[in-house]
Amino acid sequence: MILLISSKYDVSTNNVVRWLNYYGINYVRLNTEDFNPLNHFSLSNKSSKLTINDIDISTITAVWHRRGRLRHVPNSLNNLGKVTDYLKKEEDSLVKSIETYLRSTKKYIGSYTSEVENYKLEHLMMAKECGLNIPNSIITTSKKDLIGFYNSHSQIISKDLRYPINIKTSDVSINSIGTFKVTDELIQGLDEQFAPIYAQEYIEKEFEIRVFYFERRFFSMGIFSQHDEQTQVDYRNYNTQIPNRCVPINLPLDIEKQLLSFTDKIKLNTGSIDFIYSTDERYIFLEVNPMGQFDWLSKNCNYHIEREIAKEFMEV
């Protein structure tokens, strides 16, 4: 029996489920929107046992953790302000511990822990250690240093370190626009000291590469966005009128090797990885999304990733 942890609304999960049905693979699906009662997670020197939502987890042979995490705090406790915040924090540590427990006993693909601890700087450091090219980067609280970095590159960009900003109160609404170019004007408007800003050299690209990684396999796609002003900095600023050209790509073997050692290092068995292929002919690692979408990539490249994922559970 396979356990799926995902959102009710996740199209990719629905597509994989169809293939599980096709192959006659048994599964249970727990949705992250629902309250999932924790019957018990019991630990002693002699034994350990876990039952969630009346499912004895020892009957589960493998887990596909596609999105989000399970909720074990009853809905009735969701509106208690600071108390709820506290309960959620406790719940968060519980969920992570359960993941660690399951990981040590069975095949567990995907990870909530990796998703929340998706620290871009750590990944840059690891990627560099594995021999991958990374963009020149700076994190600074000082205007002087930022100007220095700005002046030593022809153009620079900025993005968030971990969380895209999304603040909505009665008088302000701030939303992340993803990656953006840093202009003279923008820098002029800054104070001498500020909260840490993450900036990178702007890399002139021939195309971008989105890699979906799953159990030591790479499904890669080239994205040609250069002709289109709207998507030059960040291809996620989708141009829905005329979509960017997306075609399958085979990463060179040495890059795949380096990527494998990278995923081993950060203990990632699935996720999306972004690269740039620069006009000066280098593959440059940008970032990882441990629970990235693959539906778009699978369709454009005719990879049938949904089926490949289902097949992965056939053997267990």
Partner: protein, 363 residues
């Protein structure tokens, strides 16, 4: 344009060569361009070379026309320039689908008495995803409502329902209330309507409604090949390369309750009252038509539209040849001309074979 860097076609812009001309089928942007066979050959033979090299190959005699071709290709983003042409593999032409039966047509008329809910249950076991219910002559709204209600309550594998029915007084009200209740209803086509009208889906409503003055008396109305039905997308194209673009993974029940590939086809596989669908769909006799791809059909296999075109195996130009071209296609790929199929003197015999006179004589 970079004339000294190798060019490559984006792999989702697929070249299809016909007898007289070719197409570029843009599977990402659902676009089709007709191109001369000369350009097809130029691209097929020279991909990976630079424009300068190609010009030189022709002794610089055709520079102007080569430039013109490449401007057209580059402007429409069918090609790009890169020194890394080797890392871009071919597009896989594999078509895969997780259902046993993907789509189903149920015909009903005033005399139909097969158990439709039982059929729906069986379709669920076959993971069927798309359902089309066709009412010729009189509208059976009770049956339709029962079907929709059943689908809503049963968590069926059927995701999307399409309905064909004749106009009646108060039909607009009926559609409005039905669309509120059933989100899986995606398309309603009303025929013999006093007016023509097209209501596109908007907002939360996924329902598309089309009123047409045309009359659909029976299943003989089906099978027309028309440019407006062409579609260039990855799913349809790869399916057409490998399988029949109408019948693949299709199952039908005609108005008399007979199990068929398509209601218009002569051959049946028993009555649904006494035969389990599952036992039919695993029979080679039933599935063999699924494999009749356009590349196997005479004339179609020389047509530049073959993989974006629909097909019909029920009405054939030569009724005695199961690989004959669809009767209701007016295109001639050898002359690149469209004409009215029903007026073609060469098709007269086939038209009378299928008793299609009544249909063809309609305006």
């Amino acid at each position: 344009m970079k004339s000294n860097i190798p060019f490559k076609l984006f792999v989702n812009c697929v070249l299809v060569k016909g007898a007289n001309r070719s197409t570029i089928c843009d599977l990402q942007r659902n676009d089709v361009r007709v191109i001369p066979n000369d350009l097809h050959d130029l691209l097929a033979e020279n991909e990976g070379k630079t424009i300068d090299e190609i010009k030189k190959q022709y002794g610089n005699e055709f520079d102007e026309i080569i430039d013109e071709y490449f401007q057209f290709l580059y402007y429409n983003e069918f090609i790009f320039f890169s020194k890394q042409v080797d890392i871009f593999p071919k597009l896989s032409m594999e078509w895969a689908d997780s259902t046993i039966i993907n789509n189903c047509i149920l015909d009903i008329d005033e005399n139909s008495n097969y158990n439709i809910l039982n059929v729906l249950q069986q379709l669920n076991d076959l993971q069927c995803r798309y359902l089309e219910i066709r009412n010729f002559k009189s509208a059976k709204i009770e049956v339709i409502s029962n079907v929709l209600k059943f689908l809503k309550e049963s968590e069926s594998s059927i995701q999307s329902v399409e309905i064909l029915l004749p106009y009646f007084n108060g039909i607009e009200l009926w559609i409005a209330s039905t669309q509120e209740k059933y989100v899986r209803l995606h398309f309603v086509r009303v025929f013999k309507s006093p007016f023509n009208k097209n209501i596109a889906p908007k907002g939360d409503h996924k329902l598309h409604v089309m009123f047409t003055k045309q009359d659909y008396q029976n299943e003989l109305c089906c099978g027309k090949i028309n440019q407006s039905f062409f579609s260039a997308n990855m799913l349809a194209f790869t399916e057409s390369v490998n399988f029949n673009s109408c019948l693949n993974k299709k199952l039908s029940i005609d108005r008399n309750g007979n199990i068929k590939n398509c209601p218009s086809m002569q051959y049946g596989f028993g009555s649904v009252a006494s035969t389990k669908l599952k036992s039919v769909v695993t029979k080679n006799d039933f599935t063999k038509v699924w494999n009749i791809s356009k590349d196997k059909i005479s004339i179609c296999k020389d047509c530049e539209f073959r993989h974006i075109c629909t097909d019909c195996r029920a009405y054939l130009e030569n009724p005695n040849d199961h690989l004959s071209k669809p009767l209701k296609c007016g295109y001639n790929p050898y002359t690149s001309e469209w004409s009215d199929w029903s007026k073609n003197p060469l098709k007269k015999e086939a038209i009378s074979f299928y008793n299609l006179q009544a249909v063809t004589e309609k305006p």
